[in-house]
Amino acid sequence: MRTPFRKTAGKVALWILTFVLMVIMCVPGLWVVLTAFRPNAEVLAKPPVWIPEDPGLTNFAKIFGFAADQVAIPVPSYFANSLIIALTSTAIALLIGMSGGYAFARYRFRFKNGIFLGLMLSRTVPGIALSLPVFIIWSKLGLIDTKPGLIIVYVALNVPFTIWLIDGFFRQIPKEMSEAAQVDGCTRWQAFWKIEFPLAKSGIASAGIFAFLTSWNEYALASNLTRSTDSKTLPVGLMDFTAQFTIDWAGMSAMAVIIIIPALILTFLVQKHLIAGLTFGGVKG
């Protein structure tokens, strides 16, 4: 009887230890969440107020314009923009990534390695170096301050990594399975959707979550390519809390919570696929 008990106790201890460590790691982020529910005066107080004396939803009320002294931040439209832009660009990046990843996994062709490396290296260009030339070209094409303008950029940002993950994934699936289906009368196209796509789902899901998080949180390019509520995303909206003279840190934290929650929920939902996806996608290139 002793040994199983010991084992369980050990497990519990390990779990608690890990949990505590994780929480410590999260403290700087949790502090933001806590700040969201406190008045600004308390946040900036010295000596510090550790335990909120007056927690409440005032900051959120202000953001949505329920408080008299502040113009509402157009969060609903920022939120809608962010959601549309992040989801659409993720979906397109996945389609392009599947198509490209399939090509790398299933075919031999000239310049294969060169094209692969070229796609990867395109991601090394820092956003700040890209922002102005993209801005000038976009303005000639009328893409400034439009959702498609930002979506195209995010697709390009996410395609390299998506191709990489999905490529690795398709390689895991034996060629023979798709060939067998083709012998049974499927076209290659049908074989792909019926056989290979379902098997690669986790890889696609994990590529998807990475792409979504990148688009959802991107700031440097969005701040240059958006102008108004037609296209401004949530991270750009954070800057609405900075004025010439003041930073409304409590308000910004409340906005941060609004940004974080959807991402957190989505991540939790695809957890299972995420790990599985990275596992197979990565090992063998």
Partner: protein, 305 residues
């Protein structure tokens, strides 16, 4: 009867190119085209507020100025040091976290979600967050240290040379360790149990198992993580720009903050783009290094083509 030759887009030989076409077109349009434009401007005296200066060819003057500029080289070296320290710390911490979580059997999904919590934070938000954490007067860190009696003065976290660089590295590591942890955890999951069991039977201790079996197996994942991270390290720009803006007195100046100030505040786009090119070469070098390591370790694993 001879079948008609199918049109070229249906020929097997061209299929991979067709499949890759959307990806290549997107990258050409969003990355390469702008790069060609900015490459051209790096040879001009282009200033944002004078559009006609786009045609003012100055040859290599921008590059000459940069190469002779001590501030630029200081930022260049600082960027390399910043990247090296940050990436290695992220790797070590990420490995520790992954090993720990891998041992957990119950409630792991919750812990994994908590582990990924920092990934939900936009870089710009991370910047503001740590600007307030490290604030010398009302910052949570100094307040905590004072409350605990560990320090009796306001520590100038964002001013002192070492502390300010520590602070920006801390913020960067906080934001990105999760990426390492999740990728390494995936690696641990993929690991076959047999070699470990066999080693244990042979009397290896935990450290030996880790050193000779687990770690080599993980190496491809490490390099994947390194490659992915070195691809988008420039995200750190948002953080540093908000926390210190490269200051004080240029003590935390990285290439990216220098480029942004030269290009936008001073409106010298030509010169900024010349710096941009040098920074791109730097990221390519980092990425290429990890990529070749990745290929090599894959070969070692016997998993390559």
């Amino acid at each position: 009867m001879q079948t008609k030759r199918p049109p070229f887009w249906q020929r097997e030989k061209y299929t991979p190119y067709l499949l890759l076409l959307p990806a290549i077109l997107t990258i050409l349009f969003v990355v390469l085209l702008p790069l060609i434009f900015s490459f051209y401007t790096s040879f001009t005296g282009y200033r944002l507020i004078r559009p006609e200066s786009l045609w003012q060819w100055v040859g290599l003057r921008n590059y000459e100025r940069i190469f002779g500029d001590d501030d630029f080289w200081a930022a260049f070296v600082r960027t390399i040091v910043f990247l090296t320290i940050a990436l290695n710390l992220e790797f070590l911490l990420g490995l520790g976290i992954a090993l720990l979580i891998n041992k957990i059997t119950w409630g792991q999904r919750t812990l994994r979600t908590i582990m990924m919590f920092p990934m939900m934070f936009s870089p710009i938000l991370v910047g503001y967050q740590f600007k307030f954490v490290f604030n010398d007067n009302i910052g949570i860190l100094n307040n905590a240290l004072e409350s605990l009696g560990l320090s009796d003065g306001a520590i100038p976290w964002l001013v002192d040379t070492y502390l300010a660089n520590f602070a920006i590295i801390f913020a960067e590591v906080w934001m990105s360790t999760s990426v390492f942890a999740i990728l390494l955890l995936a690696g641990l999951f993929a690991m076959p149990r047999d070699p470990i069991e066999a080693a244990k039977v042979d009397g290896c201790n935990a450290w030996q198992v880790f050193r000779h079996i687990t770690l080599p197996f993980l190496m491809p994942f490490v390099f994947i993580a390194m490659t992915i991270r070195s691809l988008d390290v420039a995200r750190a720009y948002d953080i540093v720009d908000v926390m210190t803006g490269g200051g004080p007195a240029g003590r935390t100046e990285l290439l990216w903050t220098l480029i942004a100030r030269t290009g936008y505040d001073n409106a010298r786009m030509g010169q900024a783009n010349a710096m941009g090119y040098i920074s791109i070469i730097l990221s390519i070098a980092f990425t290429y290094y990890f990529f070749t390591k990745l290929i090599a370790s894959r070969r070692y694993m016997g998993g390559a083509d």
